[in-house]
């Protein structure tokens, strides 16, 4: 049985733990709790440089404080003229050489890590995913698997997954802080980076290169699942029959409306090269609507009727006929039923 003191201590520990955790930010978003190979390499360097730099800072501050305490002009010293010192060879050498040594301690691991992360010799034998950055959403094409998705990128835990990234418009930058540092997504040359996650879970990804009004709303997720679940998911996605009709009448009507309202010009259901809008094959399984909003029917209806307020400057606004409440409702019903797999962000722990 816990005594009064014991309870207090447990509470205190719990409280400080929460504080520490919140101090590091949200788990699976913050770079301060690395859960992937890239993020860990960066973190090692971050810690090393911070420690060395704090040491330098401490030295500076000690001299600074002592100087200010000792040499402030005191009463009765108004006419005191200090000795005019020109310099001191030894001292000056010391504070040139020591920083150089400290910098070498930082530079060597930096260079090693830079080359290590750029080593892509095993790319051919790994999972490759072609990533396209668009204002303001991400397109993921599983090379050779005939699977395209958006917003949620499914990868297996503990495996290197190569992302071959190109932009369709302006420069973006793909960043999943907890798993890996960022890499720019340029319109001209394909950039490759790999992600290797240590733990299953759903990780937040962000666009880090300023790309327009909705730059801050270009979030996506990386859904890390076990290798078996990954295989299942791939199979489920490949087995989707895009023509399949929903059971209930509202959704059936929604499917017809989806075809009538020009949605298909940009959105594909099932594997397709169309990529002017997110592929909606597994839309009902999404972790978020448009990467940011909770996936509810209300939010979806709002999106369909007025995407502009949710994502200013997005490329869907105004490209399809205005939708009445019933129509939007029916389409929403249909889209939310697109749930081809049991492997979802939810099952992965979202």
């Amino acid at each position: 049985m816990l005594g009064w003191m014991g309870k207090f201590r447990a509470l205190f520990l719990l409280g400080s733990l929460a504080l520490v955790l919140s101090g590091c930010g949200k788990e699976n978003l913050t770079a301060l709790v690395p859960k992937g190979y890239g993020a860990e390499s960066s973190m090692d360097l971050i810690i090393l440089t911070t420690v060395i730099m704090l040491f330098v800072f401490a030295v500076v501050m000690v001299i600074y404080v002592i100087t200010l305490i000792r040499f402030r002009k005191k009463k009765g010293q108004e006419d005191y003229i200090p000795k005019q010192v020109e310099g001191n060879q030894t001292l000056e050498t010391v504070w040139t050489v020591i920083p150089i040594l400290l910098l070498i301690i930082i530079a060597v691991p930096t260079v090693l890590a830079t080359f290590d992360l750029a080593d892509e010799t095993d790319a051919k034998d790994s999972i490759n995913i072609n990533v396209t950055g668009n204002q303001y959403w991400w397109h993921f094409d599983y090379a050779g698997e005939e699977i395209q998705t958006s917003q949620d990128l499914y990868i297996p835990v503990g495996e290197k997954v190569y992302l071959n990234m190109l932009s369709s418009d302006v420069i973006h930058s793909l960043w999943v802080p907890s798993l890996s540092g960022k890499m720019d997504v340029n319109p001209e040359n394909e950039n490759t980076m790999y992600i290797e996650a240590y733990e299953e879970g759903v990780y937040w990804g962000k666009c880090a290169e300023f790309c327009g009004p909705s730059h801050s709303l270009m979030d996506f997720k990386i859904v890390v699942v076990s290798p078996e679940e990954y295989e299942t998911w791939i199979a489920d996605m490949q087995n989707v029959d895009p023509e399949q009709e929903p059971q209930d009448t509202v959704a059936l009507e929604g499917q017809a409306l989806f075809e009538e309202n020009n949605c298909m010009a940009c959105h594909a259901i099932g594997s397709s090269p169309v990529a002017t809008g997110p592929n909606l094959t597994n839309f009902g399984d999404r972790s978020r609507l448009a990467g940011i909003k909770e996936l509810t029917k209300d939010n979806l209806v709002d999106w369909l009727q007025d995407p502009e307020t949710i994502k200013p400057g997005n490329k869907m606004t105004g490209k399809y006929p205005a939708l009445s409440d019933e129509d939007a409702d029916a389409i929403a019903e249909y889209l939310l039923q697109l749930q081809p797999s049991d492997i979802t962000p939810e099952s992965a722990g979202n």
């Binding site: 930010g25 200010l68 200090p82 260079v111 302006v170 300023f210 400057g313």
Partner: protein, 617 residues
């Protein structure tokens, strides 16, 4: 031309005087006034940004307007506030420090100012003509080439104008320091502020052309259908980043080095000691400037340049920490063993040491390429460069203003208000920016209009915004102080701080010809030497004689106005043919002014020996 005549002038006469002046002291003041106004504007934009980010998913301003705010905040603060405020101090003080009567090219000096001012106005006109530039102060292509409306066009033309002005200023200072030093003022006797002005002028000379080229390419792409940055047509958007940072990184040193220079002067004055390791300080400055050109691609670690380039630029960047460290320790050792007076100017300088050291520390941290994959484009970097630019440059400008205010304006700023400004601004500054290091690592990229709920970013952002209000308060107190001082401030003697360098050897404010007789310089800290040897004033290096002075001229103003008008023509010729009238009309005015200037002989005038004798010392 005597003092009495200049005193009772009407407003129109004063205005005309300033429009036509070629006097480096007045041009310095113009830079300070204009830079000050733009600083307030940039500050206002910063406050709007911080209010928008006070809570998650805030809707204080729209996404589009937010992007205009961040773009204009950055552009304004760098090009229209920090640069001109420093140029103002350099103009007002550097010629005095080398014992010169004016700069080498007074006409060019005035032209440089008016080009800068019209460029600044140009940029800000965009607010009223359909929207300010919105592609960030770095204007990365293709976002900038695709940005709709004319905002980015204003960015291009505004920066082109003010950039040309800065380039002129740089050339002018360079020639001035090479040619116009007083007898005995060898290079190794120049005060550090003059040294840094010299080095910075070289940086301007080499760095600004890269910006000019980049802006021209952007201009051709946006206004004349070229495709330098258009990937679909075979262009390359990464080129812009290189051009921008080949300019942009030296620009950081263009801003910080003058601050380093004036801190050196201030530390030495208020600890009553000669600058420790003067030679090392000079060579550290030169080394920083040199390395400053070798590191631009550290802004591009995530572009995909490959491990070789990333490693080279990482190491080159780290190397800069060495000369910078040398400077910090030399300042500390200047203070060590001194007799330290702490007043407002000194407070800013002392506040600078820990603040800037933190900025330098994070500088080394972001130089480690792989670590930068996490920092890059996040609030960590925002925190880093604000520690450098506010903690270094802005603190420097404020230190310089408190220090030289008596020399420039003839009155001493109020100490109490000065201290209040410092403490509120200093605390506010650390509140605002320290926490941003963590925000960045916790997953907040920069240039985010909103951050989402429940991402652990709320508290940090709130603290940051509170800090910004402290800073704003400090700035307001400073403004009140400036106005109060102008009206009721204590009149300044020639040498209020027991100074060491030549500017303190003449009255505050100095007469328009500065030195009646050029001084003879006998070593580093020339005035101090004379004081120590009991004379207390400079020995003249020449007999009293006529002084040759340049005439004022309205041509620089008219010329800049011409290019200003032409810029509108360039922007709007894409929509309306009538804009060609502005384009050609403006160019005609600008080029016509050049012609007039070239053909008309202007030999200036002389202040005669008799007039000088009549004026009291």
């Amino acid at each position: 031309m005597s003092n009495a005549a200049t005193q009772n002038k009407g407003f129109a006469a004063v205005l005309w005087d300033y429009l036509t002046t070629v006097d480096h002291k007045k041009i310095g003041k113009l830079y300070l006034y204009a830079g000050g106004l733009f600083f307030l504007l940039g500050g206002l934009e910063a406050m709007i940004i911080r209010i928008q980010l006070i809570k998650p998913e805030n809707n204080f301003i729209s996404a589009g307007l937010y992007n205009e705010m961040i773009t204009m905040h950055g552009t304004t603060m760098i090009f229209l506030a920090a640069m001109p405020l420093l140029l103002g101090l350099m103009n007002a003080i550097m010629p005095l420090q080398i014992g010169a009567r004016d700069v080498a090219f007074p006409f060019l000096n005035s032209l440089g100012f008016w080009m800068f001012l019209f460029g600044g106005i140009m940029l800000n006109v965009s607010w009223f003509t359909g929207g300010a530039p919105d592609s960030g102060w770095t204007a990365y292509a293709p976002l900038s080439t695709q940005s709709p409306g004319h905002g980015v066009d204003y960015y291009v033309m505004g920066l082109q104008l003010s950039g040309a002005g800065t380039l002129m200023g740089g050339i002018n200072f360079l020639v001035t320091i090479v040619n116009m030093r007083a007898p005995g003022m060898t290079y190794m006797r120049m005060p550090l502020f003059t040294w840094t002005t010299f080095v910075v002028s070289i940086l301007i000379l080499f760095a600004f052309p890269a910006l000019t080229v980049g802006l021209f390419l952007l201009m051709f792409d946006r206004m004349f259908g070229a495709a330098f940055f258009d990937v679909a047509l075979g262009g390359n958007s990464i080129i812009w980043q290189h051009l921008f940072w080949i300019f942009g990184h030296p620009e950081v040193y263009i801003l910080i080095l003058p601050a380093f220079g004036l801190f050196s002067d201030i530390f030495s004055t208020f600890s009553k000691k000669r600058l420790f390791g003067y030679t090392a300080m000079v060579f550290a400055t030169i080394l920083i400037a040199f390395l400053g050109f070798m590191v631009w691609a550290h802004h591009m670690f995530t572009v995909g340049m490959g491990p070789v380039a990333n490693s080279i630029f990482a190491i080159a960047t780290m190397a800069i920490a060495v000369p910078t460290g040398i400077k910090i320790f030399n300042w500390l050792l200047t203070l060590w063993g001194g007799s330290i007076t702490i007043n407002s100017a000194m407070l800013w300088s002392l506040g600078f040491i820990p603040s800037f050291t933190l900025g330098g520390m994070t500088g080394v941290m972001v130089a480690a390429a792989v670590a930068d994959y996490q920092y890059h484009d996040t609030y960590f970097v925002v925190a880093h460069f604000h520690y450098v630019i506010v903690g270094g440059v802005v603190f420097g400008i404020l230190a310089g203003l408190h220090y030289w205010w008596p020399k420039i304006f003839g009155r001493i700023l109020h100490e109490g208000m000065g201290k209040l400004t410092f403490w509120t601004f200093f605390i506010g500054f650390h509140l605002t920016f320290f926490i941003q290091h963590f925000l960045g690592l916790m997953g907040m990229p920069r240039r985010y209009w909103v951050f989402l709920e429940d991402q652990g970013l709320d508290t940090g952002n709130l603290i940051s915004t509170i800090g910004a209000f402290f800073m704003a308060f400090g700035v307001i107190v400073f403004l009140i102080n400036a106005i109060y001082t102008a009206v009721k401030g204590e009149k300044a003697p020639a040498d209020p701080w027991d100074g060491r360098t030549l500017e303190w050897a003449i009255s505050s404010p100095p007469p328009h010809y500065n030195f009646k007789q050029l001084p003879l310089v006998r070593g580093l800290d020339p005035l101090w030497i004379e004081k120590m040897e009991g004379k207390g004033k400079m020995t003249p290096a020449e007999p009293l004689g006529d002084i040759h002075m340049p005439n004022g001229s309205i041509i620089p103003f008219v010329m800049s106005l011409g290019f200003f008008i032409a810029s509108f023509g360039f922007i709007y010729q894409t929509n309306y043919d009538i804009a060609y009238i502005f384009l050609f009309g403006g160019m005609a005015i600008g080029l016509g002014s050049m012609l007039v200037r070239s053909l008309k002989d202007d030999h200036g005038y002389h202040i005669t020996k008799e007039e000088l004798e009549r004026e009291a010392d």
